[in-house]
Amino acid sequence: MNPKYEALFTPFKIGEVEIPNRIVQCSMGGTTLFGWLEPSHFDLEGADFLLQRAKDGVGLVLPGMQVIRDTMGRKWLDQNRQMYRVLKPYMDEYHKTGGKLFIQLAGGFGRSMAVTPWMAALARNDTLNKLASPIVDVQYSCASASATPNRWADNLLSRPFTVEEIQEMVYHFGATAKKLREAGIDGVEIHAVHEGYNLDQFAIANMNFRTDQYGGSLENRLRFATEIVQEIKRQAGSDFPVSLRYSVVSKTKGWRKGAMPGEEFKEFGRDMAESEKAIKILEEAGYDFFNCDNGTYDAWYWAHPPQYMPDNCNLEYVEHIKKFTNSPVACAGRMDPVKAAEEIAAGRLDAVAIARQNLVDENWVTKIKTGKEDTIRPCIRCHNGCFNFAKFEGTENIQSLPDSLHLARCALNPPTMQHNRYKIVPTKKPKKVAVIGGGIGGMECCLVLKKRGHHPVLFEKTGELGGLFLTASAMTFKENDKELIQWYKREMEEAGIEVRYNTEVNDLGTIKRGFDEIIVCTGSVPRTMPQIKGFDKTITFTELLKEGRIADDKLQTVVFLGGGQSSCEAAYDMVYNFKKKPIVVEYGNDLVAAQATCLANTSFLRDAMEYHKVPVYLHSTITEIGDGYCMIKTPEGTFRQECDAVVNGIGFVPAPKAPHVHRVGDCVAIGNLRTVIWRAWDVCMRI
């Protein structure tokens, strides 16, 4: 092992429990032991995933958040006796790995409940909600400290919890912890003063207008969280360790408004001065460990940092708060293991909390231990498979139902949390397979086919592997994307896959005779709109990003036709890293109005456009493009905009379809890395 990682592999204590090393797997929605939103049960897929993580060497595993009362069926977690009976032998097996496991318990979502359109309809109608309440009580699921606006749905206020409901919940936290301890669980973590969830809504003054013992002073606002730990210690034993998921500061400017890194603003949520006092109160109440980051659902990109956020984005805040407690502290949020090890060795941090990397590469800890860190498949923080709650102006949570039921799947690694569906089964009839197109889809096909025992040959028309992803990864902040391409290239080389560079296949007939199967992965081409006068003067993303025109001094003012993710990312790169003047023209009512992209990613881009004062014209289009100008048509009228270039950001269309062959990637339908990689598996598992 490289000595720079050594500090990660030293033990530490939470209460009386020794954790074998400093690596904590953070809770991720979906990696639960007892199911996600469905009625609680012992979840075999989640259990298998968590056990594998312990076998890989994660010191402390925190399964996905478990709401103390089922959203569906409304049973308290401690009432499912059958579930705890199965848990006991599982924990015996788990402890053979030497790892420890704490269950994260939560008091619900409150105003952060990611309501879908049908849930919002139920919540807004008292009669419908009452009728549905034996199965799902959305008003209860959205209940909060006070009547506050829902993060996801317009015109939906949370109803305040009654004191009796709060005390009932407190009791069940204790009862559940007791059952968990009896079943062999090592501790619990309370998802309390964190990320703007229900218990955090009690803690934040601007979200809590109560006048009873749970509102007003800081002590009162933290009363819910302190009563929970006291009840757990009363029922489960004072030596049963209780961790607290804690957001040091909220980084929130107001309802649905987050603060950018480096931005000066007035804190709407918890500021550092209050946080310094809060952590002392919470420690005195009995919490043994603080698992920290920043943010709320209104500033979601701090708690779930997309690739636009800097590495270790929460570290300075967490290290500051550690000075105000004697209990161990962990930091989460794009943590770099090398930096974490340095900070732990220096005593500024006790543990590093890492989440999504565990989904992408199931052996990343082992690879670090054995000095093979170069072979770790990097997480690109896309959230496309694991966490794609999506929303734009005027919508509720528009995540698809299959995705709502299965969080924590991985865009880059299909077997994660679906290992029975996506698996490598050696073939009985090895075939010679021609794969046409050396993008991510083509490379993934080759790797899967090779693992199954086939003989793939890759045809790439250029001299480089990566395809359109070379353009997508060209932006300054996309270091992880660039690492992913390198990872693919290395895997291809190590697998010994034959690649025929600079070979364009125009006629499939020419290669049909030499191969048993053909897979076409030729991607997509930019969509065109010839009805716009001068459209042929637009430049493509490839010209702008991959061919480096973004750095060209002649390009200062650039208009993006279309406000999708690619346009917003490129505009952000232009304004933030190149100090240029992008302008975005979008036909729809919001930027990045897409179903599959996580709100943490899209809200960052929207907030960034506002913070960097990028002119954004919604409900608008370009009617004419000329030399040095374009005509922008907005609802207020049409005006001439001087500019150095117009970028075609209206999207892509599949490259020409080929009949009677297998197809993978954007040449089937325009998607993202998840659709490309999962389809590669869907096809290559059956060849």
Binding site: P39, H41, G73, R679, D682
Partner: protein
């Protein structure tokens, strides 16, 4: 007699469903379906089957949780 007949039909359907679900889990059966249906229809059907399976588990989990 009518009730018995209905019960028998229900049992047969359940049995048939069970046999089908076991068959569908087999790789060779899935390979054949992939070949016959074509990849687009196979993938769409596969997604639908998984979703239905998930939804069917809700009442099962709900009842299981009530067991002593």
């Amino acid at each position: 007699m009518k009730k018995l007949k209905k019960l028998f039909t229900f049992a047969c359907l359940c049995g048939l469903g069970y046999v089908c679900s076991q068959l569908l889990r087999r790789d060779d059966v899935q390979d054949k379906l992939f070949e016959v249906m074509g990849e687009d229809r196979y993938i769409a059907a596969n997604n639908l089957v998984h979703l239905l399976g998930d939804l069917l588990m809700w009442p099962v989990d709900f009842v299981r949780a009530l067991l002593p």
